[in-house]
Assembly symmetry: C2
Homo-oligomer: 446 residues x 2
């Protein structure tokens, strides 16, 4: 594979259109999408132009957002509408949604009237809702038909729908009443009414449900496709598991990057300036936050001047508080995201986390105190460091749990809280405790 | 839902078996699994005993590992073998794999000979490989049969296989030659040979492929089920997307927890002692690492005594280096896991990261230098702090990229590197640079 990657790069650099056209025609769209994602920006558009219309559509459906935007910028309306006509409704809507309003209208004018209506309908839903990820292609039959009639209907509809999985069953008003798996048709006699073989939906999914919640439902109930209904219970679309896999990866990756204060698109950017611009906002929050830490140390500089050895333990106090805050907040953020954390037990959780913090605090406080005693043979110092470590760890564990829960309560994404923000808060609090205890105890003890 | 959760808790506390039995009989196995996961340890076994055999099997397939272990410990061999007989082969093997060797033999002796062979075969594969997650239930036909004959075979096999998706096609030796989606049978005439409608597999998946790689293939190629072959190309099993969703969640969550130095099972543990025991190993690595930081500060205590204000900037140097290290390493670890990071470009990546680091370093160095100048009106100090910040950030970004790549090269999971380990290394390096520059420049400039 790596051998091919180098080969392709050379051909791209040489502009070897013949070789690349041939290579693309025998490659899977998902593989071509990766090649385009990784290609340098100026090459993306002409590489895309080498694809046949059908392949171009499949590749466009797989490609990263950044790359898609770059390719769509230069493409002609006529070519684009040809490609859009080949796409499933959900992918078509995603692509059209990336265009400027003027271009959007032009492209929509060139596709079939049905597709225009479908796409316009899909564009009305929020991008990260069930409506935003569903497709309008599915196979549905009326509850009154027999198995044989259902087979006829499926034959008529099957061409439009790439994979069927389940057949949906509606009443005469178009309201969803249930589904049956395709294989049931092989196991039933031709005269069986479909109402006899239907299974009810486990969960009702409406167009406005958040995509992360949809993904959790798929994974909890082991689903492959779910029907989506509007607020009146009418069947309007279908979400398939391949879209859910993308949502899961997207949501997870987003959480992880948010926690680090960066962004996944970073990987695909060739310009260090752009990457620095994504990362700097978070870093500057941290930078100004740490100026408060500097203020804390400055405030206690009298104490520090008296016992210069106190400075040596600043890193360990900060690092331990920081790491414990990250542990607690990671567990909390992930627990909220997967639904494994039971929020109705907030108080119990907080109490448990204080206990965990105290246990770790006692252990680490004792170790650090001992090391301080051994290194400096200053028992007061050792006592200060050990006690401060214990307190800082306990408080940090609690803050690490509390802040994401509070963010969640305020309807802010908890992942935003978990990274630099909590670390900075913990640094300030930890150092405050350390120097406060030092000033207090040194006064008492010496 | 929360109202019900409280209700259930009360009934569990009261030991209301009648109410719970009725409630469970009308609940989805996935919902019951969550109730058992969240129940206190002593309640898990008796709650499980309230389930009918079929439901018990479905619940056991959905439950967390910790909970399963607790329930399996107390269960009788006879009851367990009845439950195992209801499970699909992959789930049966997972459950049997949790038992002690002695109990395993006893249970296997009670199931059907075919199931015994299947389970024993599956247990031979590594838990985190394609063989470990595949099931032996699938529908396959010979390439010589017609569509009508295939329908007959599917009818015969359909009862054993919950969801069919694709029908696999083998040659006369049992080697896999391809597949066709079930709907193709509706669209073909009865006399069509299946060899005319088969599609080749996009990727060959062998029993020893790592499960994370399998998950990446599913998500890249939008698959719903894949056949698994042995080293000779013989069809031996099938992996379905519901198992892949679980693998994806498991792998993400594992990565995220590893980066924080904790473990997902933490959420399900009621004992703070156990949680502290999981987290402490990582924390102690950090603790001893930060003793090196203490040594660095101790070594330069002469300089610090001269300019006590240097201490105030220790937090900002540490925190910025730490955060940038986490940003770079998160991007790297996630990029490796999703395959978006192109490892053949190691040198280019490293060079780009140095540039990114330098850009952020210049910005943050200038801001901190300015703030130091304003606060202390000591221009030498400001110069020292600004330069140190610049250097520490550039080096931290580079280390954050380099260490995960090095771990990957040494075949250690890069996620292990990304958390406390890199932060600690960056603290030591950052502080070393800061005090070294301070000592040098204060000598020159004052």
């Amino acid at each position: 594979v790596n051998r091919t990657a180098e080969d392709i790069e050379k051909r791209v650099a040489k502009g070897d259109k013949r070789w690349l056209t041939k290579f693309f025609s025998s490659s899977h769209p998902a593989d071509i999408a990766i090649i385009l994602d990784r290609a340098d920006d100026p090459d993306k558009a002409w590489l895309f132009s080498l694809l046949s219309r059908g392949k171009a559509a499949d590749v466009l459906a797989e490609i990263g957002e950044e790359t898609a935007r770059k390719i769509l910028k230069g493409i002609e309306v006529k070519k684009l509408s040809g490609i859009v006509a080949e796409l499933e409704s959900d992918e078509a809507a995603d692509i059209i949604g990336e265009l400027s309003l003027a271009k959007r209208e032009k492209v929509l004018r060139k596709v079939s009237p049905e597709q225009r209506v479908e796409i316009k309908q899909l564009l009305r839903y929020g991008e990260e809702t069930a409506g935003g990820i569903m497709a309008t292609e599915y196979v549905a039959v009326n509850e009154q038909v027999t198995a044989d009639e259902a087979i006829e209907e499926i034959r008529a509809q099957a061409d439009e729908v790439a994979e069927i999985y389940n057949v949906y069953v509606m009443d005469k008003d178009g309201s969803l009443v249930g589904h049956f798996p395709l294989k049931k048709l092989f196991l039933s006699s031709g005269q069986t009414k479909v109402s006899q073989i239907i299974e009810p939906e486990v969960v009702k999914i409406t167009t406005d449900m958040d995509q992360e919640k949809v993904a959790n439902i798929f994974s909890k109930y082991d689903l492959v496709a779910v029907p989506v209904v509007d607020e009146r219970g009418k069947l309007v679309g279908r979400i398939t598991v391949d879209d859910v896999l993308d949502v899961m990866e997207e949501e997870f990756t987003e959480d992880m990057y948010k926690m680090a204060g960066s962004d996944g698109e970073e990987l695909l950017m060739s310009s260090p300036f752009k990457v620095a611009r994504i990362r700097l906002p978070w870093l500057s929050i941290c930078l100004f936050g740490e100026m408060i830490s500097a203020g804390v140390i400055g405030y206690f500089s009298g104490t520090l001047r008296q016992v210069i050895a106190l400075a040596a333990f600043i890193p360990v106090i900060m690092a331990m508080g920081g790491n414990i805050g990250i542990q607690s907040s990671t567990i909390t953020v992930r627990g909220i995201a997967t639904g494994r954390l039971d929020l109705s037990h907030r108080r119990k959780l907080l109490f448990r986390e204080i206990q965990i913090g105290a246990l770790m605090g006692v252990t680490c406080g004792a170790i650090v105190g001992l090391l301080a005693a051994l290194r400096y043979t200053e028992y007061t110092l050792a006592l200060v460091v050990g006690t401060a470590m214990f307190s800082a760890i306990t408080v940090s564990a609690t803050i690490g749990l509390f802040i994401p829960l509070a963010f969640r309560y305020l309807k802010i994404d908890p992942a935003v809280a978990a990274g630099p923000f909590i670390t900075t808060v913990n640094d300030i609090v930890g150092l405050g405790i350390y120097f406060f205890l030092a000033t207090l105890m040194l006064g008492w003890l010496t």
